[in-house]
């Protein structure tokens, strides 16, 4: 029992590592601030393009979405960070993370938006248009509010996934929270710093995870 406390909850080591980890937390938050909006906007573009009139566009978007949903985000990240330099494109770790997660998250958010738009019946469109709203007005005032309500649990849960995904940035040496914790661990040969980082992730995400469960249970009813 004492050994476990020493290994995983070593207060002394945690205290020593805390400044480093908090520094990492700032970077984690910065990455979130970059990749969540990028994904939300990219997803919107994907959803719009998947409703395009041209068949070829729809097909191309569907194929890209499937490919980027099939490739694990870590693979995409390493490809961007370690592969593209061979083609003469060298990105900083932060930029690599943004590019890789933009591709991944746009596909996921795009699918969610698409499901949301599909969930609103045609009658809503027709009713909106027949009252004299333009196509855009119908979309923004009638369809989108209902669509967002229908897929809100998915949007929230995907955003949680995106925040968790930022921990992968440690693999390309972006000094975010997990990278800082892992560095402290390798210096002290003690995993307590990672446990501290885990505790911070828990504080950040636990309320959202609770909310997610509530939303999901309500939908089930």
């Amino acid at each position: 029992m004492d050994a476990i406390a020493q290994q995983f909850f070593n207060i002394g080591i945690m205290r020593a590592a805390a400044p480093l980890i908090l520094h990492g937390l700032v970077m984690t938050l910065l990455v979130c601030l970059a990749v969540v909006p990028l994904g939300l906007i990219g997803g919107l573009a994907v959803a719009m393009a998947s409703r395009a009139h041209a068949r070829a566009t729809r097909f191309a978007v569907a194929a890209l979405v499937d490919i980027f949903r099939a490739i694990p985000p870590l693979v995409l990240l390493i490809f961007v960070h370690a592969g593209l330099p061979f083609a003469g494109l060298r990105l900083s770790p932060f930029a690599s993370v943004c590019v890789a997660f933009f591709l991944n998250n746009s596909a996921y958010y795009g699918e969610i938006y698409r499901a949301g738009l599909d969930s609103v019946g045609r009658g809503q469109w027709e009713a909106a248009r027949s009252t004299g709203l333009t196509g855009w007005q119908a979309l923004i005032y009638v369809v989108v509010p209902q669509a967002v309500r229908n897929v809100l649990p998915d949007l929230v849960s995907n955003t949680v996934e995106v925040v968790k995904l930022t921990s992968l940035a440690s693999v390309v040496a972006l000094p975010e929270m997990l990278y800082a914790a892992e560095m402290a661990r390798s210096l002290t040969y003690n995993p307590s710093p990672i446990v501290l980082a885990a505790a911070i992730y828990l504080v950040l995400l636990w309320p959202v995870v609770r909310l997610m469960s509530r939303l999901e249970h309500r939908l089930g009813g």
Partner: protein
């Protein structure tokens, strides 16, 4: 060299493809192995937890909820690193394959438990009462009345979640599991060329695009009916 030739030379170099294809294929086998064992143990454990939760023992339920919340809130890579670096220090040594299996199974179990539980809750109370009043036992009602309805509702979200977690097998590369990504990055550093990375990415596309398409098909077949 023109741009097209440079592109091929960088990402699709013939002799490197020939040299590293066996490694990537070996990686694919390992990825499939982990994926299969994770899906099996994760979903079964998740179902068991949801069933235990439906029996309504307060303390046990609290433990299940706490477990599910923690496993859903933490990035899987964080859990992998804690288990991988922590267990040997307290006298438990697991292979990196076993660590990845254990962690991904637990994460999948946590999500599956929540999804099954939402499914069980979604079956109306009247179904329970009708089942019990016809003389079925608690277990029989659960098995013959509730679960068949609940499982149908859970299939689409469970499929999506399972696909996401299966792709996390790529995290194994960080602790040295010789799966696709690990083989690809090793080959890349030996060859000093991006071709193996491209091969790795293509391997994932070949493995997972069919799964993603099947997932979409299942999703529409079993779609949650919204009023």
């Amino acid at each position: 060299m023109d741009r097209g030739a440079l592109f091929v030379e960088t990402f699709f170099k013939r002799d490197l493809i020939a040299r590293y294809l066996p490694d990537i294929l070996k990686g694919m086998v390992v990825t499939i192995e982990i994926a299969v064992v994770v899906v099996l143990t994760g979903i079964v454990l998740g179902l068991v937890l949801a069933l235990v939760r439906s029996s309504g023992l307060r303390l046990v339920n609290l433990l299940i909820v706490v477990f599910a919340d923690i496993a859903r809130a933490l990035p899987p890579l964080v859990i992998v690193l804690i288990v991988y670096f922590g267990l040997p220090n307290v006298g438990v040594s697991l292979s990196s394959f076993a660590v990845l299996w254990l962690v991904l199974s637990l994460v999948l179990a946590a999500f599956a438990e929540e999804i099954f539980w939402a499914g069980i809750l979604s079956v109306r109370k009247g179904q329970w009462e009708a089942g019990r009043s016809t003389g079925l036992t608690y277990g029989q009602t659960l098995a013959y009345i509730i679960l068949p309805q609940a499982v149908r509702l859970t299939v689409p979200p469970l499929t999506n979640r399972t696909i996401t977690i299966t792709k996390n097998t790529a995290l194994g590369t960080v602790i040295g599991v010789p799966e696709i990504l690990n083989q690809a990055t090793t080959a890349q550093s030996f060859s000093g060329n991006a071709t193996p990375l491209m091969m790795g990415a293509i391997a994932y596309v070949l493995l997972f695009v069919p799964v993603v398409i099947a997932g979409r098909f299942i999703e529409t077949r079993f779609a949650w009916r919204r009023a």
